[in-house]
Amino acid sequence: MDPLVAAASVIAASISIGLASVGPGIGQGNAASSAVEGIARQPEAEGKIRGTLLLSLAFMEALTIYGLVVALVLLFANPFAA
């Protein structure tokens, strides 16, 4: 593969996954903190709160996964490789 394409792909892949983990990381922290606060306020609702928390965490995780998919495509299935 063209060395310029290789170098650019590697840098792009790392930036992609690095940036993609910032936003969802903050979001998941907020969600977990609100969930813990809700459980502290009303311990009987723990089951429902935990269920909703896990569902929301998976949605936010998906956003990081999109960045990971781009990184994986650039590294393993690069469309610009000769």
Partner: protein, 252 residues
Amino acid sequence: MIDQLLSYSKTTNLAALEVGKHFYWHVGNFEVHGQVLIVSWIVIGVLVLASAIATSNIQRVPVGFQNFMEFGLEYVQGIAKDQIGEKEYRPWVPFVGTLFLFIFVSNWLGALVPWKLIELPAGELAAPTGDINTTVALALLVSASYFYAGISRKGLGYFSKYVQASPFLLPLWVLEDFTKPLSLSFRLFGNILADELVVGVLVLLVPLFVPLPVMILGLFTSAIQALIFSTLAASYIGEAIEGHGEEEHEHH
């Protein structure tokens, strides 16, 4: 003994990682990924066998395996009921249940069964949901099903909701019809492939014990992804079915 270990690890490949090699089958004009089909058939076989065993000697008061399968059925019914609503959920339980069970069993079989023991001419056996074709197929099925739900309920008036609130929202609705299957497929595919790659790389680096926590985390997240996929599918169907009568149910 150290010499023997060193010479052993030099002559045999304890671990290797490869991505993107497939076992191609030629069917008519098409090339399909044989390894995905093989594992899919095994998953289908496991599910059918489990159902056959559970219903082979039905008791009124369920015990043992029948009890476990009934728990699974109630869980799947719960998913459909929560998202679609009490009145309409019954016809959709088989579809939502199949999505959940197929994805769940294929993820867990892909992670737990030692597929490497079976040598393929090219590529290797892995979870079928780790192939983008499988997840796109499932996502397109979900798309087709919620269009079918909306159109069979309201006829072509289903498309009036696109311009109901404001005609400026029409591009947004159209975009959403494309991003729904896209996000569904990529979420599942990315999760499963990422887990397989991480476990593969860890095994390449430290073959003993270290990959274990990541594998257990992988089991947990892949189960959650099965739940997410089926919950979202049910939610899209519920959203397509709902009419004006449903609004009164929201005000408890």
